[in-house]
Structures are given as C-alpha cells and as structure tokens.
Amino acid sequence: MKTGIKHTSFDVEKIREDFPILNRKVNGYPLVYLDNAATSQKPRVVIDAIVDYYSNYNANIHRGVHSLSQEATDAYEKARVKIQKHFNIKNAHEVIFTSGTTHSINLVASGFKEFLKPGDELLVSAMEHHSNIVPWQMLCEQTGAILKVIPMNLNGELEMLEFVGLLSNKTKLVFVNHISNALGTINPIEEIIEKAHKVGAVVLIDGAQACAHLKPDLQALNVDFYVTSAHKMCGPTGVGMLFGKEEWLTKLPPYQGGGEMIKEVTFEKTSYAGLPHKFEAGTPNISGGIAFGVAIDYLNAIGFEKIAIYENQLLEYATKKMLEIEDLKIYGTAKNKTSVISFNIGEIHPYDIGTIVDKLGIALRTGHHCAQPIMDFYKIPGTVRASFAFYNTFHEIDTLINALQKAKRMLT
C-alpha cells in the first residue's frame, strides 16, 4: 500500500499536482475550488487507497479466518491507530469509527438519554452547525432537560463571561465547535473545557471544521468527546471519528444493535462487545476508514504548522483584497480565525453572486451554511462563503476578486 507523499518544503504548485480534480475545467474555466469548508478535495494517495482496497484485499473484517479478511482487518485497525496517534488519544479503543460528525454527535446525544432528568441544563454555542443543535434539542424533548445558548458578539466571538455565568451545578453537557463553519472563528475550547469541568459538566467538541487546519492534542485538552469527519481533511465521505474517554464510552449504551457489536446473543439476552466494537454495529465503511488513515498521513507529511502559516497568508491576502470591493461586508471577524470568509456585497442576494461566479469556474458556498441561528443573529438571509485550503493559491484569490467585481457590476 502507498502512503503519504513527502513534502520537504511548502510548494503549492507541487502540492496541487497531488489533487487530480484541480486540473479540470468548470464552465470553460479552470476550476477555482473555494468551498473547502463544505468538503476538501482528495489527493491521489487517498483515491488510490480506495482503489487498492477494492482491487486487492476487499473482504469483511474482524470475523473472517481467511487471509484477505485478515489483511483488511489489519489495514482497518492500523487506520484506527493512526487516528489515535494523530489526535494523541490514550487508547485505540477510544476511537470509534462513525459515518461522520453528525453520526458521532447523534450517538453521544442518544446515549445521554438515561443520564439526564428534567431541569438539567445543556449549553450550546450561538455559532453551531445544525448537526450540533438538533440532536441535543431532540434529547431535551425526550428528557425534559433545557437547552441554553452561549451568546456571541458581532465579531463572531463567544461571550466567555456570559458562558461562565451560565455554568452551574445544573449544567450537564456543553457542546461547542472547535471552529465555526460559517464564520471561521476558532473558539477557546481549552478554557471552555476547563470551566465546564469545574461544575462537573461533560464537554463535546465538534471538530469537523477544525481538523483540516490544526492538530488537536486530545489528552492535553482533557476533552470528554471530540468528533470529526474525514471528508473535510482530504479523506473520503461517509467516514468519521468519535473520540470518547473510556469511562464515558463504557457508560454509554450501544447506539445501534446488529452484528459486530455483540459478545453473545441468545433470544433471551445479548451481551455487548467491548470497546470500540460496542458502537460499531454492522459492516463499516472499510475502504473509507483505511483511506481516512492515508489522508491523515498525507496531511502530516505536509505538516500542520506549514498548512496553518500558508492558510493564514491566504486569509490575510483575501481579506485585504475583498475589503477593497466597495460595500463588501465580512461576517465573522474574530481575532482568532481560520481561512473562511463569509460575506455579502451590498444588498445583492448571496445566491446571485454564487450563480455568476460559478459561471466563471469558481466554487463558493451560498446560503445559511446549516447555521440559521447565525444568520438570524446578523439579520441576513445568508452569506456567500469562500473557504481556502492549503492547495489554493494567491492567483486563485485574484481570480475570485475579479469575478466578484464582475458579478457586482452585473447585479447592481
């Protein structure tokens, strides 16, 4: 099996050669892909890992005695260990493969049903993705617990004093994203975790948007749950991770029943398998899990420090250039943010801008970004969002700026 390509220094043109899709044209123009916050593109090594699995050692895992099954199981379990090491997780069995962040959050929310009583309080931040709001609302409906919101200021930063004021011995769970998908804000999760723990609350951090930009050390963070998706970090769709501290994963009941998650089954009673299998019922996304591991190798070969430095340069350049466009307003101006720019130009509808720049080969996101409460907060129907990855270039930003100017001329 092939693993990550070595990059000795940061050479964006060389990196771009790793991504086959970046060679294509869209509507007659070279693709400028600036929708990385929705999903990242995939390097050749990740695509090859999926092809390699299905071409050479496709078999069901964990149960077979034959060699192919053993090879597939080894590769899948090696991927789990790669994830463990990458996030500095204490035990490999604290890494649960899921279909992605949404699945991970639902698994935890469902498991907490039996630990909550009416009047218990859950804290959610004002800048969450719907997937980190709705499962908890459902949990509150089922248990009588109350959902409270940590407010944010106009820059898109959490009001930490208000957060502290909301904490009490009634607070059972706190869930916040590491980085906001709509605003790019990097939240002070170290402080949130520490303060929540002081009142005995359990903390879940949604890392879906963060893990392509930085490398969290989960033991140092001392977080109870951390969830993420492979597809935002150069891996395939349909696979993700749930990290949970052993004590919590042991306490939580299984989420789905089926094969793989059992120890013994009779019609009278079933005993469950140990971690991590207790939460991994059914045949998993085997190639996806393996390719997730390859994606992590790939990102580490480039280096997260280099990625962060380069993406910050892109963000600074794009912010400066965009603010030169008259009437352009950026939403999310936190001091500590990643390479996401949410904006509107005057009264122009985000949809109109997205449509025009698409005709010029540029992929942006428009709408509410699955974060309607943020749009309500700013009293806007939505924004246009440009989100940059380490394979984007300064030249692409110039192309974007020209396209936005063209769109503005057409639309006003």
């Binding site: 509808h349 949809y351 109109d352 449509t355 005709k359 428009t366 709408g367 129907p381 057409m410 639309l411």
Partner: protein, 140 residues
C-alpha cells in the same frame, strides 16, 4: 399570443447573444419589467418552497385566463420567474397545463432545470401548473 409563439419569441431573443454573460444580463433586465406581486400577497402561502432565494407567485383568474404576479429577493431568480411568467401568465388553465418547458434548455439556461439546483425552477414550474390545475377543476 399562444404559449408556443411566446416561447419562439424568447428563443429568438436569446439567440441574439453569444455568451452567457449577455444572456444573464438580458434575463436580469426581463426581471426588472416583471409584473410585481402586491406587498400584501407576499405571504407564506404564496412562497415557493425549494428555492435558496425567496420566490412569491400570486395567481388570479381574469376572463378565464390565469394571471400571475411574482417577485424574488434574488435578481437572477427574478429573471427566471419573469421569463416563466411571460410564457405562462395570461393563458388558459388548459394551455398552461399542456405547455412544455423545453425552451429553457434552448435559451441556454439548461443548468437551472436540474431538479437539485437550489433556485427551484422545477418547483416554480410545478407550482404554476398546480395553480392552473386548481382553476381548471374550479371551472369544471
């Protein structure tokens, strides 16, 4: 004018432009001359679902013909609605129900016909035909 003739007229108009930008600019211009829905009718009832931008369409029956007024908060969408209204407004319910929408493909707006497209052109056409069907059943 019959629906077919109006469609021909629109196709000829758009054939005059060589590139997408001119076609879009023309569409935006058409949007600006659309009969606009009265503010009081811009309610949830007349909002078309399935669009990323808001689209309201209000039907009335006048002398056996369906007359539509509409609006959108996005101007490209407004242009698309305006083209649809030029074709479908002021026609009998039967004619509206029988009309096809192949002309949209021919004027180079094919991409908007995809059912997954966020502008909801497909939902708009469906809604216009639903109104025609409702009036038709009332007449019978």
């Amino acid at each position: 004018m019959e629906i077919k003739d109006i469609q021909e007229e629109i196709i000829e108009e758009f054939a005059f432009f060589d590139d997408w930008m001119q076609r879009y600019e023309h569409m935006i211009a058409i949007g600006k001359s659309m009969p606009i829905i009265e503010e009081k009718n811009k309610t949830e009832d007349y909002l078309i679902k399935g669009c990323q931008s808001k689209v309201w369409v209000y039907p009335e029956i006048k002398d056996g013909k369906v007359v539509f007024t509409a609006d959108s908060d996005a101007i490209i969408t407004k242009g698309i609605v305006a083209i649809l209204l030029r074709v479908f407004s002021n026609q009998t319910p039967d004619d509206i129900l029988q009309a096809d929408t192949k002309f949209i493909d021919e004027i180079g707006l094919k991409e908007h016909l995809s059912p997954t497209r966020a502008n909801g052109l497909v939902s708009m056409i469906k809604q216009l035909k639903m109104y025609a069907l409702a009036y038709k059943s009332q007449q019978n």
